[in-house]
Amino acid sequence: MNFAGWTNFPALMEFGKIGFVNMLAFRLRYYTGILTYFINVTVYYFIWRAIYASDPGFADLSFEEMLTYVSVAWIIRSLYFNNIDVQISQEIIEGKITTALLKPIDLQAATLARVLGESIFRLVMLTIPSAFILFAVYRLRLPANLLAFAQFSLALLASILLVGAINFIVGGFAVKMKSILGLLRAKFYVMDLLSGLIVPISIFPAPFRELSEFLPFQHIVYTPLMLYLGKLSGTEAWTALGVTWVWVLALIVSGSIFWNSMTKHMTIHGG
């Protein structure tokens, strides 16, 4: 792994600022974003109410916990979400990636810095307002305790980096592919499902649950939510956090190796 481009913190800060400032341009997106999250949660509210009405012992979570799970899941989605996979693949396909390649800075480091900058913006403009509205409308649970909230926050930071690192790798496949739209779509739905955003991992069929244990996706939503609800506590909680952060490191290191090998195959067409 090449650290030459990782140590220039002032430059990375600057990339973070760009990530933040660029979000300003899409004002309409976060007004509609808040509305979308509200509608989503409302739909899930009625679905889960119907399910719990017919079978109250349906899952390991009570109805109130399930509603909290779904709401907080959508609230944190507004924080960790980014589409740098789309951006990077476009830059590769259009050849604009040369701008980044000709600078003495690591593209992955710069991208993750941008992601963090964007997430800070999302936190203020999307996540906190959505949380206020949803907590006002529905009876949702607060975090189990202060420690659980601290652990939840650490897990959230990891979610942002996990999604950033995964998207970086997925976007990088554009070097090898003529059309990347299919892969981007597939990743989008796989991530929503396997992260536990749509339903908690615990109610997946057993084979799915076991598979999910070996994948990084469940640490994006499911693990933070289990910490929030206090379903993981003590050593279990710290282990889950440790595993999450090992995934973050593993994905960043493999992303870096992957990207360096991809740049060797890059063909930039035209002028």
């Binding site: 220039n8 760009i18 701008t99 000709l102 800075i105 690591d106 740049t263 063909t267 930039i268």
Partner: protein, 346 residues
């Protein structure tokens, strides 16, 4: 003169696949593809010394941009060796890019969605340029390029001329000893071209920056480069000075003669000398075409002045474009085997 760039037997092959025609062809392509190798750069070798300004020219698709991409480290050659500023461009890219500047005429190296000055500040951080140095250099660049007027505009809103000035300034902000320019004046008006040329000349003089530039505008070469390389079909056809190239290929020149009156015109029409063709341009002026290797211009002028009463004499030089057109179309150089630097100097 220490060498800054050393290129040895550089080769780049691209593998493309030929699409078969029609629907049935498309179905066949799904199962078996017919690949074809295309050699974009074919065994190119050269060295560039410190402070040299080298023009790299050739028709579209000759392999110029491919060469530049390999020299800047964003494309990996199929074989061959490059050492630039002491680095292997594609293997030590991160460290190497710190020591070079790159300008692509067709593609900005600035960040598209932020203001020019934000791009510059980002570059300042990336290259770790001290504030004093940054201010000094920006003020200096402003003198020639007049950057201040659009420093706060986002790059996507700049005109082409403004964008190019910013791109050139951005590429030189960290004072790299080596600068690559791929068609830096493409699509620019005469004022913008002039301003960029003046700027490049000044930078070269002041900092001894080595520059390699590709262009289709030959006046770029005439104004900037002491040396040019002509490349076609991936091969270097010529490497040497511009005057030497002219001497080698300008086989024909013309002398325009303006005369006092019709009697003199009649006299000149009858003029004859081996290797000289007389052509009437209009009523009182004639054009005498002659082959350089047969006729000494001084001798020709002496005889004309002796035989006719002349109002004015003008030597008409063949424009450089004409010379280059002949190279590109294969009328010259291709059949002279491969003109090496030695061969180029008579």
């Amino acid at each position: 003169m220490p060498s800054v760039v050393e290129v040895e037997n550089l080769v780049k092959d691209f593998r493309t696949f030929d699409r078969r025609e029609g629907v049935w062809g498309a179905i066949q392509d799904l199962y078996s593809r017919q690949y074809r190798n295309f050699r974009a750069v074919d065994n190119v070798s050269f060295t560039i010394g410190q402070g040299e300004m080298v023009g790299y020219i050739g028709p579209n698709g000759a392999g110029k941009s491919t060469s530049i991409k390999m020299l800047t480290g964003i494309l990996v050659p199929s074989s061959g060796r490059i050492v630039a500023n002491g680095y292997c461009p594609w293997r030590e890219r991160t460290r190497y890019t710190r020591t070079i500047g790159v300008v692509f005429g067709q593609r900005t190296q600035l960040w598209w969605d932020i203001g020019v000055v934000e791009s510059f500040r980002l570059l300042q951080k990336i290259y770790e340029i001290s504030q004093a140095e940054y201010d000094h250099r920006l003020a200096k660049f402003d003198e020639v390029l007049e950057l201040k007027r659009y420093l706060h505009t986002p790059v996507r809103k700049l005109s082409l001329g403004e964008r190019m000035r910013c791109d050139v300034a951005a590429a030189l902000l960290h004072n790299p000893p080596l600068l690559f320019l791929d068609e830096p004046t493409i699509g620019l008006d005469i004022v913008a071209k002039e301003s960029i040329r003046t700027f490049l000349k000044e930078v070269n003089r002041e900092y001894g920056t080595t520059m390699l530039l590709t262009t289709h505008d030959l006046s770029d070469i005439e104004e900037l480069c002491h040396r040019l390389m002509i490349i076609d079909h991936g091969k270097v056809l010529y490497d040497g000075g511009l005057p030497e190239l002219k001497r080698m290929l300008w086989r024909e020149s013309a002398l325009k003669v303006d005369l006092r009156d019709r009697d003199q015109a009649a006299l000149l029409a009858a003029f004859s000398m081996p290797g000289v063709a007389v052509e009437r341009a209009d009523e009182l002026s004639y054009r005498l075409r002659f082959r350089r290797e047969e006729v000494q211009p001084a001798e020709l002028i002496r005889r004309i002045v002796n035989e006719v009463q002349v109002l004015d004499l003008t030597m008409e030089e063949q424009p450089i474009e004409e010379v280059v057109r002949r190279i590109y179309t294969g009328e010259a150089l291709h059949d002279d085997a491969h003109a090496s630097p030695e061969g180029a100097r008579p």
